[in-house]
Symmetry: C3
Subunit: 140 residues, 3 copies
């Protein structure tokens, strides 16, 4: 078995910004030489997530509107009330619900993504930050 | 290490239809001969998800009602507005939140599902489609 | 490849109670001797989930309030209506959305958690129960 590990650092500005990572993941898979197994993508932050979407402008707009509706930015989240200077209670709730990781099968040297499936990082925070991701490719 | 890969094609009619896949997963695990490791189930579409539920008629009805309430079908999702002929903006938002994959441990030749845990495919789209799933079983 | 499997039993009282499992996961990883690979954590119940959060009192309060708002406890969930004696329809819907598992990379003998990331079990049920979790550590 081979295990290939990579780390990515990505500058994001928050406010549900989306960054497409599909070609980066394909590149790392090619470098690994692994033809069968799984790729695990993990973001090391509590206010950002990775997910799979059809990446077109309409979905991007809907995604941002959806999160603002269901978990709105507001002053009175307890995270903000109890911790002076914090304003990102909503960012935490979004991140923990959407989740920090994806696991994608690798078959015949390729991620088994469907035609419209794209891998994206979403940053729910309220300010610009550099985000770190770990990519673990395991297989043969 | 052994890696066994399978592909399933399942006819679905959308509208939050649920299909129980538990016995199919157990059959594929038996065929693999793997006794310890993990099974990863991945659906290759942006408007369908896999998840684990107690599969009884009440939960099925609640699941459909929950999604219609939290992310309703409506004309003015930007995905529909910006892409002529599209009516499934809500299907995309549901699919990306519920997620495309599950990873389940295998111990002593068995998936470690609890008594009431069943593996299901849910199709959030607005029309009938054939759905493809990839099953990757890794272990010894 | 090495595969180390563990089972944990944890007493919970429901009502969105949170239990921090991070040090337990670190201990099991140390025991395994595995330095590169993945840890999969899986809860064997339909009304509990595992997730990653910043574990501080404000986030704990927000998490409980969020779930009570988005999927409230109420008598008329179909799971309750159709199954005499059941009152936990909301617990099921929460558990299936948050999900039963986490997969975390292991690099140089350590889980790749960020500074603020903590692993927690959340119990959505309406009464005290003992919860069983499976931990599968795979790697080299």
């Amino acid at each position: 078995m081979t295990i290939a590990t990579h780390s990515l650092h990505i500058s994001m500005h928050g406010d549900s910004q989306l960054k497409n990572l599909t070609s980066s993941m394909n590149d790392l898979l090619s470098q690994s030489g692994i033809t069968n197994g799984t790729l695990t993508l993990f973001v090391k932050h509590t206010t950002a997530s990775v997910m799979i979407i059809e990446d077109e402008p309409g979905i991007r707009a809907d995604t941002k509107n959806f999160w603002n509706g269901i978990i709105p930015p507001k002053c009175d989240w307890e995270h903000n009330v109890r911790n002076q200077g914090e304003d990102n209670g909503h960012s935490h709730l979004r991140g923990q619900l959407q989740g920090p990781s994806l696991t994608i099968p690798i078959v015949q040297g390729t991620l088994t993504l469907g035609t419209w499936q794209q891998i994206v990082l979403i940053d729910f925070d309220t300010r610009a930050r550099t985000r770190e991701l770990v990519i673990q490719i395991m297989g043969e």
